[in-house]
């Protein structure tokens, strides 16, 4: 089976400063990978590079998504091809109604998949059902996108988009930060409900605790723009006990 994602020796920089210094990674259909690491290790940069943020420049290496080169696709082409990034800091968009935004996003992706557009009534039904699963109040539909949302509410709104868009490959960038245990459990259940033999995930986190809820297949440790260690679930536990310093010296 074609891997979902193959990253091969990718170097990337922001404003001329190199952040990713030779990353390689392969994610197969149905797999969930986690990347752990300290602040500033390059985890979020990798997420934004994969989503196509024009602010980040790939200087060398290659990325293949479902067997095809990814680098030259625009952010919207990537979204339409099934890539989804749950933002660490979801952006506030004043004056734009959340329901309208969510439906526009869903229809952009549906159109790309060759499906018919969903109308406002159908959409409302669908959104309500997904919001119920995330224990989100319906009033969030009628507010401006992320405006006045707390940190946790913004994260729920990201996962709501994940549930609506049903991407083939989801990147969750520090989705757990700012969440209490209850919210973490609810959001993780939402994410887990999408796991199947074809959909893949890349979960970025500081903390081992998220992995109690999401159960990744593979864990990578990132330090200074490189993956320095890859292992199974037990690696997260070792990190929880011993921190990252034993890896830096090795």
């Amino acid at each position: 089976m074609t891997p979902t994602l193959v990253i091969d020796q990718v170097h990337a920089s922001v404003d001329g400063q190199e952040i990713l210094k030779g990353i390689s990674l392969e994610i197969r259909p149905g797999e969930m990978h986690a990347i752990m690491g300290r602040n500033g290790s390059g985890k979020s940069t990798l997420a934004h590079v994969l989503a196509g943020n024009p602010h980040y420049e790939i200087t060398s290496g290659s990325i293949r998504y479902r067997g095809k080169p990814l680098e030259h696709l625009t952010p919207e082409e990537r979204a339409q091809a099934g890539i989804f990034l749950s933002f660490q800091y979801p952006v506030v968009i004043p004056g734009v109604n959340n329901a309208y935004f969510l439906r526009t996003a869903l229809n952009a992706v549906r159109k790309a998949r060759g499906e018919s557009e969903i109308d406002a009534v159908e959409f409302l039904q669908l959104a309500r059902e997904k919001m119920g699963r995330l224990e989100m109040d319906k009033s969030y539909l009628n507010r401006a996108v992320n405006e006045g949302f707390s940190g946790g509410e913004k994260k729920r709104n990201e996962i709501l988009q994940l549930l609506l868009l049903e991407p083939a490959f989801a990147i969750l960038d520090e989705t757990d930060s700012g969440l209490d245990i209850d919210a973490l459990r609810i959001i993780s259940a939402g994410v887990n409900s999408l796991r199947d033999s074809r959909r893949s995930f890349l979960v970025i986190t500081h903390y081992q605790r998220l992995l109690n809820y999401m159960q990744p297949d593979v864990i990578h440790v990132m330090i200074d723009g490189k993956i320095v260690k890859t292992g199974g679930k037990e690696l997260a536990l070792t990190l929880e006990e011993q921190g990252y310093s034993w890896l830096e010296t090795s």
Partner: protein, 406 residues
């Protein structure tokens, strides 16, 4: 070009060729006044950011009254609204107890500036809209238009709400359609004690149009004005507002939106004076500037001595969509009283790349993302319109404007 400048001398010369004027206004007095006030030049502080001053001597003329059966193409119609069109400054509807056309026009002792006096000189009369709490009509739509007339028109509208009256008013400057629209409008509004006016003024200009509106507002105690001012301008639109919160407890909420296009110019000069204690003003003005357009916001808030517990907030935010667009923003506060709350802020920038990326990462194209962000920016103001039918009309103009963006 110097020969074409509108100076007091050029006005006097022009007026000599229009003998009819003397039949309706005291021409020598008004010419004297213009001579004293002068007419603006680009060297003056209040005009130095404009590309040009308004009108040329040869634009000055006396439009004839329109034929009574003239067919009108009005873009907004709704059963809840009484329509009172003003064509070339003349009425088209018969008078009613609330709305009359008064000739000769009032002399207006409140001499504001040379353009205002020019309006007094050339206006055919004053449209006086007077409302009491017992007035049977509460919603009035006033479209101002030119009918096959390409020289200057000088409409004058005088709105008076008596104590406790409540009125909704939509004043609509239509653009030139078959020819250019040159309009020098004078509006005065007086809100009596406890009166409430909900006002929408929409000024549309096409590329060669010039619309200058001088508006003077006085609010007595506990009156309330909720006002949305939209400038949809591919030509030139300037509003000169002098606003006086005269009585204790008077409140003003002014939301302005400039949607510019081409090399259009949108200009709002406002002076809001808090004269009495416990007066409130909120002024929020936004502009979107594409192509070679040019925006000016000059907002002054004055707190008079003794106007304690004044609460004045002003903000101006502008989006530049092109490297050739320009915005001049100049908020000013003059505070002569203690114990007041005043704030002002101004920000001019481009579309936020983080917002654009967020939307694109959800599958929206750059064009769709931009439209959504611009709609959000503008809706913030247009959502203040309290009437569904007017809001949907203004949204249709917003979409038409956006469709024409390069």
């Amino acid at each position: 070009m110097a020969g074409n400048l509108l100076t007091p001398k050029a006005v006097a010369e022009r007026v000599r060729s229009l003998p009819d004027l003397a039949n309706r206004v005291p021409v020598p007095d008004l010419l004297d006044r213009i001579q004293r006030q002068g007419l603006p030049t680009l060297r003056q502080e209040e005009w130095r950011h404009n590309r040009r001053v308004f009108f040329r001597p040869e634009d000055l003329a006396c439009p004839p009254p329109p034929p009574p059966d003239l067919p009108l193409r009005l873009p907004f119609r709704h059963d809840d609204w009484i329509t009172y069109p003003i064509l070339n400054g003349y009425p088209l509807s018969p008078a009613s107890p609330e709305i009359t056309f008064q000739t000769p026009p009032a002399e207006s002792g409140a001499a504001r500036d040379g353009y205002h006096t020019l309006n007094r000189l050339f206006t055919p009369g004053d449209h006086v809209l007077r409302f009491s709490p017992r007035s049977p009509i509460s919603k009035v739509y006033v479209p101002l238009l030119n009918g096959h007339w390409e020289q200057l028109t000088c409409p004058a509208v005088d709105i008076r709400l008596e104590e406790g009256a409540t009125v909704d008013l939509f004043l609509h400057h239509l653009p030139g359609r078959d020819g250019v629209s040159l309009r020098n409008t004078a509006v005065s509004i007086h809100l009596g004690r406890g009166a409430r006016l909900r006002l929408f003024t929409l000024d549309e200009t096409a590329p060669d149009d010039q619309h200058l509106t001088t508006i003077h507002i006085v609010q007595e105690g506990d009156s309330h004005l909720g006002w949305v001012l939209e400038q949809l301008t591919g030509g030139r639109s300037r509003w000169d507002l002098s606003h006086r919160l005269q009585g204790e407890g008077a409140e003003l909420e002014l939301d302005g939106l400039g949607l510019l296009s081409g090399s259009g110019e949108g200009d709002l000069h406002s002076v809001i004076t808090h004269h009495s204690p416990h007066t409130t003003s909120r002024e929020t003005v936004k502009n979107i500037l594409p192509e070679r357009s040019h925006g000016i916001f000059n907002g002054k808030v004055i707190v008079d001595p003794g106007a304690v517990k004044t609460d004045a907030r002003q903000s101006n935010r502008n989006l530049l969509l092109s490297a050739d667009a320009r915005m001049h923003s100049n908020p000013q506060l003059e505070i002569y009283a203690d114990d007041v709350r005043c704030s002002h802020g101004s920000a001019t920038g481009q579309l936020d790349p983080d917002q654009l990326f967020y939307l694109r990462s959800r599958g929206l194209t750059p064009d769709e993302s931009r439209s959504l962000l611009l709609t959000g920016f503008a809706r913030d103001i247009l959502d203040r319109l309290p009437w569904e039918e007017v809001r949907s009309y203004s949204e249709s103009t917003l979409h038409a404007w956006m469709t024409d963006l390069p």
